[in-house]
């Protein structure tokens, strides 16, 4: 007798080969590739090369780094900030992602809109918003003074705390979205089965939802961490003079025309960022989770 309906499934997977030689596609991508090489890739590469070619072929610029107190302090500040921000966004973001996935469609859309709202405003505007809130004559101080709770304004702005708060605010969506996409894919049948077997909601969460959501957590944290490392605008505006981040140090060195040093710092930053992103993309579960982030 006839075999199962295989043909439809068998041929569906193979995309038809259109009769165009590989030359066609190459011509299509050539303009962009050439453009990016000339105006982006080669400039960045040339700049990075300064770290090893000045004044002659040397690795001295890198060798100097581990002993450089300025670099070490900046590195420590950057890593600490990134860590704090990463943990902060995940702690605050997890409940929101959970709520977004569990709620009725109407509520979900509202939460999504609020989560995406920061996306729709430039980093500059968001940083300014925190300056407004935290400044010496900013809104929080004004409110506290008016309420009689303080006499002199608190030093909130230009502190590490301000940087942390502002960056958490800006990076929260990047933690929430990959997590939400992973949570959404958890089969509801698993949760019902667990409940049917006698697990209370807290148990169901702790033993089923939480473990299954870990790839999303990991993806979100990696993403936030990488983005935090390279942050410039926000720390520059709301951070203190002692809270210099790596990107700010790089900018300062460029202003001083200290190219080899700036290039070495940039290369270091780039290497770490690429390594972390590469790590994320290599793990299929994390890669899947990252797909959930669409601007």
């Amino acid at each position: 007798m006839t075999t199962l309906a295989e043909s439809g499934i068998a041929t569906a997977g193979r995309q038809p080969k259109l009769p165009t030689a590989p030359l066609g596609p190459l011509l299509l991508v050539a303009p962009l590739v050439l453009y990016l090489l000339v105006f982006y890739a080669l400039p960045v590469a040339a700049m990075l090369m300064r770290s090893v070619t000045d004044p002659h072929w040397t690795l001295a610029n890198y060798a100097r780094l581990p002993a450089d107190p300025v670099f070490l302090r900046v590195l420590s500040t950057t890593l600490t900030t990134a860590a704090v921000v990463t943990i902060g966004t995940m702690v605050l973001g997890y409940p929101v992602a959970l709520a977004m996935v569990r709620a009725r469609p109407v509520v979900t859309n509202v939460i999504l809109a609020v989560v995406l709202l920061p996306f729709w405003t430039s980093v500059l505007v968001r940083s300014y918003a925190w300056m407004v809130l935290l400044g010496r004559h900013g809104l929080i101080n004004e409110a506290l003074t008016a309420a009689g709770l303080i006499e002199t304004p608190l030093r909130l702005l230009n502190t590490a705390l301000a940087t942390h708060i502002a960056m958490i605010h800006i990076l929260l969506p990047y933690a929430i979205l990959p997590l939400a996409s992973v949570l959404r894919q958890i089969d509801g049948a698993l949760l019902r089965a667990a409940a049917g077997l006698g697990a209370n909601p807290w148990r169901v969460f702790r033993q089923i939802v939480l473990p299954l959501s870990l790839p999303g957590v990991a993806a979100g944290m990696l993403l936030v961490f990488v983005l935090s490392l390279g942050f410039y605008i926000t720390p520059a505006l709301v951070g203190g003079p002692r809270d210099t981040m790596l990107s700010m140090l790089i900018a300062q060195q460029v202003d001083l025309l200290n190219w080899p040093y700036a290039a070495a710092l940039s290369a270091t930053l780039l290497a770490v960022a690429l390594a972390l992103i590469g790590l994320t993309l290599r793990l299929p579960t994390l890669r899947q989770a990252l797909r959930g982030v669409r601007r």
């Binding site: 991508v29 962009l32 105006f39 939460i111 500059l124 300014y128």
Partner: protein, 269 residues
């Protein structure tokens, strides 16, 4: 359990407030009549908007930002759409590296891109020059176009183009009459994101604007270093409005593309 649920809802609400409040406060402050920051504002007024619209120091950078963004849209849409079409048809070996190159501006830390292009462009008189900014912004905008058009292409049934060829259309005619109309939503979405990415861009602009090409974000930045002028609140609100309009259009374009994508499902018998 109810307590946990209420507690959870409270936490979520607080976090959402945390997300939304600062921006809403900026918008409200922009309408404040006071010269100092206070919340709630003593009275509503448009004085800061009047300052903005009456000052060439604000309007010129605004116009420049719009102009640059428009140029970036044209350039990045052209390059990005062609590239997305090509990437989809490349053999897998070539596809990965070229796609990686096209999307890398999103992954490389902004400061590295900024000083990299500054390093090179300064040698060719492209600093303090709007053209230099356009060239730089295009690199950052292109990934949005490539991603958007590629996503659209992926959802497209390639057999449609094959059917067109079988019905007598030359490859060019098949592209023009079949593929292009179907990827128009993707191109539009990409173009809109390209616009926002350029209009709001600061890091690269900081280095490339010099003294001759001050963009709006650069102008805001300069002002912020020296004063917390409520005018900035008005400008910020205006940029938020522009972004919302653009993103609203994106939403509409996406919905139209969805309708076309489910076309083949059809009605039940």
């Amino acid at each position: 359990m109810k307590a946990m649920r209420a507690g959870g809802a409270a936490i979520v609400t607080l976090v959402l407030l945390f997300l939304a409040a600062p921006i809403l406060i900026v918008v409200i402050v922009s309408f404040s009549s006071a010269a100092y920051l206070s919340f709630p504002p003593p009275a509503l007024s448009l004085r800061w908007y009047r300052v903005y619209f009456g000052s060439s120091e604000w309007l010129v950078p605004t116009g420049l930002s719009f102009g640059i963004a428009a140029a970036v849209v044209v350039l990045s849409t052209l390059l990005g759409t062609l590239a997305a079409l090509g990437i989809g048809r490349l053999p897998p070996a070539l596809r990965a590296p070229i796609a990686a190159l096209s999307l890398s501006p999103l992954v490389v830390p902004g400061i590295v891109v900024a000083i990299g292009v500054y390093y090179a462009y300064s040698r060719y008189g492209l600093v303090g020059n709007p053209i230099g900014i356009v060239l730089g912004h295009t690199c950052l905008a292109v990934p949005f176009v490539v991603t958007s058009v590629s996503a659209n292409l992926a959802g497209l049934d390639r057999r449609l183009e094959q059917a067109a060829l079988g019905l007598g259309a030359t490859p060019l005619a098949a592209f023009w009459q079949i593929t292009l109309p179907l990827i128009r939503p993707g191109i539009l979405v990409g173009a809109l994101f390209a616009f926002i990415s350029s209009f709001d861009e600061l890091i690269v602009s900081l280095f490339l604007s010099g003294t001759g090409a001050i963009t709006l974000p650069r102008r805001i930045w300069d002002d912020l270093r020296f004063a917390l002028d409520p005018t900035i609140a008005a400008v910020s609100t205006l940029t938020i409005a522009v972004t919302l309009v653009v993103l609203g259009s994106v939403h509409l374009a996406r919905r139209r593309s969805e309708r076309l994508r489910i076309a083949n499902v059809g009605l039940p018998e």
